[in-house]
Point group: C2
Chain length 475, copies 2
């Protein structure tokens, strides 16, 4: 049978089954945008011929990473909100209030470039003005499962004193919900299914119960998931207790949000009891190890969630305070932070981290029928990783295999040399083929400088810890 | 005045003073192996002409990293000893007992390549058969401050049941001490001072008190430092209590080891009281965030050591269980693990991590007169980092500067494009000029496979957690 691409002769990890599905001399046959077959090189070459052969000798063939939670619209503020108190109000907000939607989308593109160059092929982007950002995914050719950030909070929210109850404006809520619905209408299941849309309520504290219920009704009608921050910080719990006299998870349970439809992000402040409760409800969890570690100094209860039978995965969150959107960083952080949390080197092993960046992420996002592992019939989202890079040295396969731990604990990102998304070669020899990287970055750099210049007065007024560090010569 | 190299037009961080010594449009003039001048581009170009100009536009100019604690001799076993119990006996040992010194040196070279390609210019290598390994540093052109691992433990140590008291063989101790002294004799202050030698007692539990005192006497005579594991794990404390009825730090104090000469590595098991005590003694500390996090699930008391007035820095330790030797990883891990330990996002900020990989490391190792910062008269160990890489996007300088946090939390290693060591350009456009990278890696890969083949029976016999994971398809 004739296919479009055969990748052969590589160390193959399908991520099927309970482990990594290792095949020593593996090959994948790709036809149009799907995987036609996966197996040993000899088998595949016997059954198929191809337009194009890719020799993966000394390379790892595996599914691309799924970044389950990323806000690319604020990548333009990378590195302005870490090592500080009140990172959102004093770090991010003085910049963000000056951000125009078109500028947000320009910055987003660099974030997507960053992700692809470190092996991410699916981006679950969750941000404002996704109607603009989604075009980046169309242009660059990445898989995206996007949601509009729906809340009903006025634009001056960051100016509110810390701890004060947010005011809601229902007109804002309707506008944002309509944007999410229009996004669905216009972009869901476009580009041969490469772009899909779900709903993105910002958090139980960020909108009225009425709007929250309205979003939920729409999700049920469209039969789609709800991507939502839940118990994401003491700020949220504080708002919920002030407004409703109860904590987020009890509140969401009361209003029938806890089920398979809900993707609960962070759960930073969930107690062990709440964590087990939500895990058992069928809702899934996204753990953002780097961002919550850096901006909050915390390790959310992801292991507890898994132990209670829940499905969980990893996300890179936001560049202002993470400060990177590289799933290799997330896997490293997730593993080491949980080993330390449990004082146990066997906790959160490399394979667990790797599954949570691939197949488990696909399950959480509701796309495991088409992504997250390599299997006949799934979409062809595949990366090749150069195993001759020093970070992987040496590659041992017998009797111990060490590729997975070195991928998780040692690889940096630049070892990824090829990315195939939806059957198309998007990156080759570490260069993205669909856009001009340097031009995109240069345009975005100029844009960021423009915003910083407009924001200068507000940044000075915020008088953040970082500003003080700059003044002290520490930065 | 005529110099050899002028690097100009870059974002410059000297690492002088209390912070990072940022100069917006900075330049460095290099003559022979030393820094002639550091300043603004305009100034430097007015005062100096050069054989060679390096344009650092959109690049960061900074001192190369100092990896204060690395065992390159076991890099050949990267990735065989993580996510498990008894990592040393069951993970590393079944391999290590089959390692020949020449093979260890072959693997070491890849480790050094890995380090240089992530910005390390000085390696404080601490391993057996440094007489062979040191030649790698001579060949590749890196700065090295090496020590032979001195102990008096028989080669079958890894076969001992866990918890049993080590037997000492004085002939082994004498052989290893002599190797360290011969190393000093033959290599100290060679290559224009690029190679220096200190003494490397393995740990207070790994040798008799007599040998420990002998090493100390030699260190005093040579007026050099003692690079030693101290309180590195419950194994050590257990040995010390069984043998001497006291813990490591009390024991070392009793025998006058706690002073400026001592570089205490790990201190994993040191109590807060012991930590403050050793910090106040003038001894310094090396913190290996990645390796201790991964193999022990612990965060050593480095912040407590600093708070007590001690000088401390970072090291990447060993590839079998870290699994990388990349100072960017170490900075990331050090910062996030301590933020989480103290539940405080302001703890262990990026600049602290960066200083501990540069100037503070130079102080710990006793080389701050020549390395760790950019200042007229110091050796020219300089790296250039590409700030147009997505990990650094955007570069902001006014009113907030975000280069340092993005270097620490976001950069991967491959952004380092140039390394100058001792005034010579060792790496350019990410390619090392002094050796053939691919050949070295390919030779080392073959060597690792040979060892794994010889070791197969012992690996199977050890029946480690990792072997079980391989059998279960998890690796």
């Amino acid at each position: 049978m004739k296919v479009d691409i055969i990748i052969h002769n590589g160390h193959l990890m399908t991520m099927e089954g309970k482990g990594v599905g290792y095949i020593a001399d593996g090959a994948v046959a790709i036809k149009h945008n799907k995987i036609e077959a996966v197996g040993q090189t000899q088998e595949i070459l016997r059954e198929y011929t191809a337009e194009r052969h890719i020799d993966a000798a000394n390379k790892l063939i595996m599914p691309g990473f799924i970044d389950a939670h990323i806000h690319t619209g604020i990548a333009i503020f990378r590195g302005v909100a870490q090592d500080m108190s009140n990172w959102m109000q004093k770090g991010l907000w003085p910049f963000q209030k000056h951000l125009r939607p078109d500028e947000s989308a320009i910055g987003s593109m660099v974030n997507i470039i960053e992700g692809i160059k470190a092996g991410t092929t699916t981006f679950c982007d969750y941000d404002g003005r996704m109607d603009l950002i989604v075009n980046n995914y169309k242009k660059i050719g990445a898989r995206a499962r996007v949601a509009e950030l729906v809340n009903e909070i006025p634009d001056n929210i960051g100016d509110l004193p810390v701890g004060e109850l947010y005011t809601f404006e229902s007109s804002i809520g309707e506008t944002k919900l309509n944007r999410n619905l229009e996004l669905y209408e216009k972009h869901h299941d476009t580009e041969d299914g490469r772009i899909t849309v779900i709903l993105g309520p910002h958090g139980p504290d960020m909108m009225s119960l009425e709007l929250l219920k309205e979003v939920k009704n729409h999700a049920e009608k469209l039969d789609t998931k709800l991507h939502m921050h839940v118990a994401q910080g003491d700020r949220e719990i504080n708002q919920m207790e002030k407004r409703y006299g109860k904590r987020s998870i009890e509140f969401l349970d009361e209003h029938d949000f806890l089920n398979e439809r809900l993707i609960a992000v962070h759960l930073t402040e969930a107690t062990d009891e709440e964590t087990a409760f939500i895990a058992k409800s069928g809702a899934s969890m996204i753990y953002c190890a780097g961002s919550i570690g850096i901006i909050d100094g915390m390790v959310p209860p992801v292991q507890h969630f898994l132990d209670a039978g829940g499905t969980a995965c990893l996300g890179s969150d936001q560049a202002p305070g993470n400060n990177s959107n590289n799933m290799l960083n997330e896997m490293k952080f997730a593993a080491i932070l949980n080993k330390v949390k449990y004082k146990n080197p066997q906790a959160f092993h490399a394979t667990q981290a790797l599954r949570m960046a691939t197949i488990e992420a696909a399950k959480v996002m509701g796309i495991d029928h088409e992504a997250g592992s390599l299997r006949s019939g799934k979409k062809a989202d595949i990366i090749l990783v150069d195993l001759t890079a020093p970070a992987f040295y040496p590659v041992l396969t017998k009797p111990i295999r060490n590729i997975v731990p070195n991928l998780v604990y040692s690889a940096r990102g630049d070892e990824v040399d090829t990315a195939i998304i939806d059957g198309k070669v998007i990156m080759e020899n570490k260069q993205i083929l669909t856009i001009h990287e340097k031009e995109e970055i240069s345009k975005a750099q100029q844009t960021a400088e423009n915003i910083a210049s407009r924001a200068e007065e507000d940044i000075l007024k915020a008088d953040s810890d970082i500003l003080q560090m700059v003044r002290d010569g520490l930065l």
